[in-house]
């Protein structure tokens, strides 16, 4: 694995070595995670609280869940892993806040006195860790479903499989410029529709396309070797 140093550090920390724990929970790491959260739309207070929450879960079991660091597989940098965990919690927090806000606008006369009575039963499984992956995946799949299948095929043949555009042009009886325009067009459409879906799902989330791609990359790193299906919320 590419991040053996981080993996060794995590193993030492989980074994209870104080120096390893301190290194993981360093001021530099703390500041980094808080900065990531603020950049993504968290307030300073939210960033500090979530970061502290993440570190609190790193080394100890809580509510029947294994220590967070046990899920680290060295697929990416530890810093990225912790940032993603924090971002997942931010997404969960913002969605709960939005849900509570929607409840407060409803007429609740005669309704249960505690708004939490209206919520579905608290799910004890670690869904907060799934929010980011699900958001990325669903936004992409929705965007793809809206695009012309032919254009997507052409794009994938060129971008993923390295087919030359002139070969496609010959097969289709098109000019090469038409092939190029078609591919550029669908790439832009995927980008626009994906970001539109992200904004619909989480309008508070501050993320540009480059950030979205980076999140996909880091998510893919951490999903490798794990069963992705087992990490996704089954609704």
């Amino acid at each position: 694995m590419a991040n053996t140093q981080d993996l060794d550090l995590v193993k030492a920390a989980l074994a209870g070595e104080p120096a390893a724990c301190a290194e993981i929970r360093s001021p530099e790491m703390t500041s980094w995670i808080e900065a990531v959260l603020v950049k993504r739309g968290a307030s300073q207070t939210e960033a500090k609280d979530i970061t502290a929450d993440v570190f609190g879960d790193c080394f100890t079991s809580r509510n029947g869940r294994a220590p967070l660091l046990r899920a680290y597989n060295g697929g990416g940098a530890l810093r990225a892993f912790l940032s993603r965990a924090a971002l997942n919690r931010l997404i969960d927090l913002k969605r709960r806040q939005r849900f509570h806000g929607e409840l407060s606008t409803q007429g609740l006369e005669g309704a249960p006195v505690d708004e939490f009575d209206l919520l579905e039963g608290e799910d004890q499984t670690p869904h907060t860790d799934d929010n980011l992956v699900k958001l990325l995946r669903d936004a992409l799949l929705h965007a793809f479903s809206q695009c012309n299948p032919r254009d997507l095929v052409l794009m994938r043949l060129v971008a993923i499989y390295g087919v030359r555009q002139e070969a496609l042009a010959t097969a289709l009886g098109w000019s090469q410029s038409k092939v190029s325009r078609t591919i550029s067009g669908v790439m832009e459409e995927v980008r626009a529709r994906t970001m539109e879906e992200v904004r619909k799902a989480d309008p508070w989330l501050e993320v540009e396309w480059a950030d979205f791609i980076a999140l996909c990359r880091s998510s893919a790193d951490f999903l490798v070797g794990a069963s992705a299906e087992s990490q996704i919320i089954h609704e």
Binding site: R150, R156, V158, A159, I160, G162, A167, R217
Partner: protein, 72 residues
């Protein structure tokens, strides 16, 4: 090759076929025939969209078409 879409491809590959919509099923004879026509330039426009849907749902079929086109 566009690295962004390679990243997206790699990311979506992590999910089960029923989630990603992409299977690794064997290519049927009918689909193979469509792929051959596409690569040979014999596919009518009216058939292209349906073939495209079938290709998007089957990674092996995409790979097959790519190998034929790359052989040009």
């Amino acid at each position: 090759m566009d690295s962004n879409f390679q990243t997206i491809h790699h990311f979506l590959q992590a999910f089960a076929p029923e989630i990603s919509g992409r299977s690794s099923d064997a290519v049927t004879a009918e689909l193979e025939a469509g792929i051959q026509r596409f690569a040979a330039g014999d596919l009518e426009e009216s058939s292209l969209n349906q073939l495209s849907r079938d290709l998007l749902a089957n990674e092996k079929a995409m790979e097959r078409l790519a190998s034929l086109l790359n052989g040009r």
